[in-house]
Symmetry: C2
DNA sequence: CTGAATCCGGTCCGATACTG
DNA sequence: CAGTATCGGACCGGATTCAG
């Protein structure tokens, strides 16, 4: 089973938060815009995998650690980390040491995405993505 | 509030599903492979947005409907729909009519991803993705 | 008329080499 | 160690074309 971070408490909190937005409100429009931006961000290559690392494992991650785990070119990793930092999902702290050290941390905003990854793990326990016969593609 | 598909029942089901996999088992390795394939699929451009459409709205969607909502080139949409159909997340039904009509439906496997999008909606009610000041990117 | 195949131009990504 | 520079290739967007 995938590690539930603190899933139970968290989900109970969510479920008790009924009817937060009037469906046609101006705030709802902003939410849609945020959703669009979020999906657009998550749609970029490797972004989900990177966030998955931060959401599941606790503590800071270094550039080289991510490079090993994620299987990504350094320039692309650099771009992704910058993008995620810009929108406040990660923080970056550079130490003036030799050899240099840079630590990336998930913000609370990013940690609030943890249930997504946790649930994706649940999903993979119940399903696969094996190619389907041509007959089963119709219905 | 974003529409919870049947959030309460769903989450209770999930939360009661403790310790389904022995962590080092062969099945766990397959899960990881599935997860990798899933993230790789979701990482492709527009895939998440497309699945979002199927997961939130009920009922079949037509090619042209998706084309309007998703803002995607027709060739790319065609590719995505084929990929999603191949792995069993969508089914495709073509009617022999004039004008022609093709309907895509989410399979149960795809519907089981709905909680992901539902929760992303919850997340957007609590957070945004506005650019963060340079000072706040450090910590 | 809709869904999709084809061709081309642009953007994004990967691999390697290199720098502070 | 943590990136940046450069280049080649894969992927995506747009327009056109085609089949049913």
């Amino acid at each position: 089973m995938v590690e539930p971070p603190n899933a139970k408490e968290f989900l109970e909190t969510i479920l008790s938060n009924e009817q937060a937005r009037p469906p046609g409100s101006e705030q709802a429009a902003i939410d849609n815009q945020t959703m669009s931006a979020l999906l657009n961000l998550l749609g970029k290559k490797h972004t989900i995998v990177i966030l998955h690392q931060f959401a599941t494992g606790a503590g800071p991650l270094r550039f080289s650690e991510l490079e090993e785990v994620v299987d990504i070119a350094p320039n692309t990793l650099s771009n992704r980390l910058e993008e995620l930092t810009e929108v406040g999902l990660l923080t970056r702290k550079a130490y003036n040491e030799i050899p240099p050290r840079v630590e990336y941390n998930a913000t609370e905003k990013a940690q609030d995405l943890a249930p997504v990854f946790w649930y994706l793990g649940v999903w993979t326990e119940r399903h696969d993505l094996e190619p389907v016969s041509a007959a089963d593609r119709r219905r």
